[in-house]
Amino acid sequence: MVREPVKIQGTKEGLVIVVDEDVDIEVLKERIVDRIEKSLKFFEGATLNVRVKNSKFKDEELEDLKDFILKNYGVEIFIKKFQEKHIKNVTDDEIFNGLEEGITKFHRGTVRSGQVVKYYGNLVIIGDVNPGGLVQAAGNIVVTGTLRGIAHAGFTGNKEAFIVASSLKAMQLRIANIISRAPDKEEEVEYPEIAVVRKNKIIVRPLYHLSDLW
């Protein structure tokens, strides 16, 4: 699983650059310069928002970077540091909107205890998710096998996201910032199920009653 360490996204706030925690400041600089040079016209007189996620950059390093870009390219950048969002403070500013059609990752194989599969789009697991395994997607999650661990769909805040599994025996289901846990005594069902949010609660329905849901 290779994820871009420096991601440049267009959002309603303009261009946002999301940087992973283990990225060197030089790499970040290089990527920003690269991007600006590619479309210099677009950037003229513009401001650029950079959100730095979980990074260990020092403030003075970031100040240097700001000065460098301003001097050489005339582009002012605003840098905002933020910690990766936890379930409690999922906000609405970066919602993934590709639930109908959008980027999707296909993960092949079983997600075992202690493993995390996280994707900023829709996520399909070709296999099972075992207890203690965690799958997180900004969009929908589909598990072709049995979901026994934790699935967190719409983790950037989209409550419309759904979770589908051939066999849904999840320890916990999370959609956006809503959590539900498995009942302590679970009745076994033999059919595929879907979990969606209705009235701020996660509900689970048989997959063949879809017309009731939408």
């Binding site: 910690q83 936890h86 379930i87 409690k88 205890s113 202690g114 493993q115 995390v116 207890p131 203690g132 965690l134 320890m171 916990q172 959590i179 846990r181 498995a182 302590d184």
Partner: protein, 264 residues
């Protein structure tokens, strides 16, 4: 009173987690405020044994990293209001926590709880060092096997080096019939080698496996011998004058039955 007790063994699979769950549950049954802390980061089990796995949202690493408040991570037991679990993280490793952070954490827990039971991971590396940091005393679990006793001995040495003196011994999974036949280490043999105070002896009991799988600590089931042994162990922990229970009593009928069949 407030005390932090680490349950450790050196060797894996001797029953640290089961012992932690049962001592903690019975202390809570007796009305004490108890926190169970799972320090086996990356290989957590205590939540499963307690049947609380599906309630975990935050864990010990979230707490020490300041991602959540301690109270948010503490899971209240489904049976007893005074019993709480602080689960380990499953997606991290032992280096995610330092002994200093553990010391602070235990200190914070002491403000709320009478007893803090720390379930230690197997081994003597970082996880062990984390688990014993902040503990006031130690319970060493062993089974009547040479390898387990050897590791327990090593652990007792390390505990002493860390200024955790006078650990208490729990001998787990003893089979009285095998001891009688001379096929298993006797309690005396083990005490002889380890030379620490014996807190309790837990018989090998199939019911423990059943209860563990169900997420119901066996102390909840009054009838089984192992449950009585755990209760006796806790009574002795609270008052050292309580005598050890006689494990032969409960086994007697089955023993006789078994012997009868063998003779036939």
């Amino acid at each position: 009173m407030k005390e932090a007790i680490v349950i450790t063994s050196g060797k894996g699979g001797v029953g640290k987690t089961t012992t932690t769950a049962n001592i903690g549950t019975y202390l809570a049954m007796k009305g004490y405020k108890v926190a169970l802390v799972d320090t086996d980061i990356g290989l957590r089990n205590l939540d499963v044994v307690m049947g609380l796995e599906n309630r975990i949202v935050y864990d010990i690493v979230d707490v020490v990293e300041g991602q959540c408040r301690l109270k948010q991570a503490l899971i209240r037991d489904k049976r007893f209001d005074t019993l709480y679990l602080l689960p380990a993280a499953q997606t991290r490793d032992k280096t995610a926590v330092t002994p200093e952070q553990m010391r602070k954490l235990i200190q914070d827990l002491k403000e709320e709880f009478d007893y803090i039971l720390v379930d230690c991971p197997a081994g003597i590396e970082q996880g062990f060092k984390n688990a014993i940091a902040g503990a006031d005393r130690a319970i060493v679990v062993t089974t009547p096997e040479v390898a387990a006793v050897r590791d327990a001995d090593r652990i007792i040495g390390l505990l002493e080096a860390a200024e955790l003196h006078n650990p208490l011994l729990v001998i787990n999974r003893i089979k009285m019939d095998m001891v009688k036949r001379g096929d298993m280490m006797d309690i005396e043999d083990i005490i002889d080698i380890l030379a620490i105070d014996l807190l309790g002896v837990i018989p090998d009991d199939e019911n423990i496996i059943i209860s563990t799988n169900k997420g119901e600590p066996i102390v909840l089931d009054e009838k089984s011998l192992a449950s009585q042994a755990y209760r006796n162990l806790v009574e002795r922990f609270l008052d050292r004058n309580v005598p050890l229970i006689n494990l032969d009593v409960g086994n007697g009928f089955m023993d006789r039955l078994r012997r009868l069949f063998k003779m036939a």
